[in-house]
């Protein structure tokens, strides 16, 4: 089981992603904007952060920058339903600012689970390969 933090301003999306991840045995926390998301991250220190990009209050790009300042290793999965004001590939920008993975909304349960499993297994493999100490929860995630 891994600890996963979801940051999204849409309650239905938070609920949907939470259900999918809990069905796979993960412990899921959520926040409704970037500021609360960063605060939750600092408290929980999850194994994975999944964040939306375009949010009314302190958007996801800001959250990614803040989290990356604290921790360069935690995997960040950025998601977006497409830019709505400017013709910019927001997911590409998210990668440039520190997101490791990106996924375009809308996605199905299987797509999300496949991606989360890949990210978490990669994190465990990378931790073992580098000899970096990892806690039991993270090792169990793979």
């Amino acid at each position: 089981m891994s600890s996963i933090l979801i940051i999204d301003d849409d309650a239905a999306i938070r609920s949907a992603i939470q259900r999918v991840l809990e069905s796979d045995g993960h412990a899921v926390s959520s926040a409704c904007d970037g500021e609360r998301g960063v605060a939750a991250y600092r408290t929980i220190r999850p194994d994975l952060v999944i964040t939306d990009i375009i949010m009314p209050e302190n958007e996801g790009l800001w959250a990614i920058l803040q989290i990356r300042r604290d921790d360069t290793t935690v995997p960040i999965l950025a998601m977006s339903g497409g830019g709505n004001f400017i013709k910019t590939d927001v997911l590409r920008t998210a990668r440039q600012l520190g997101a490791d993975w990106t996924i375009a909304k809308p996605f199905g349960a299987r797509e999300l689970l496949d991606m989360v499993r890949a990210i978490l297994s990669r994190r465990v493999t990378a931790g073992e390969a580098s000899g970096r100490p990892m806690d039991e929860g993270r090792l169990a995630a793979g």
Partner: protein, 112 residues
Amino acid sequence: MFPPSPGAAMFQHETKDQAVAAPEAVTIAGDRRVCVRSIAHELNNLLLPILTFGSLLADSLQEEQAKHDLSIMVASARKARELVKALLDESDWFEGSAALPATGKHGVGHPR
């Protein structure tokens, strides 16, 4: 000093009109693009819970008829997802076209 010729005045007038018209056209096109992209963004957000909860329910349901009905719902949501993607692609194309004058009058036109 010679007074400006009528032709010169017409030229100046035409140029001024064009100078105003071109940014207006771009602004209208930009507004439409923002509208299309905003709607597409919202539709994508609406589709996500349908697709994820639909998949979860389909896996958990026992009754064959209900499973079948739900699979039709999820398939419809997937088709809607493709439609939204096509809409966004169209919006990108429209933006690229609208940034240029509608004719080749100024020596700049649509790439063929």
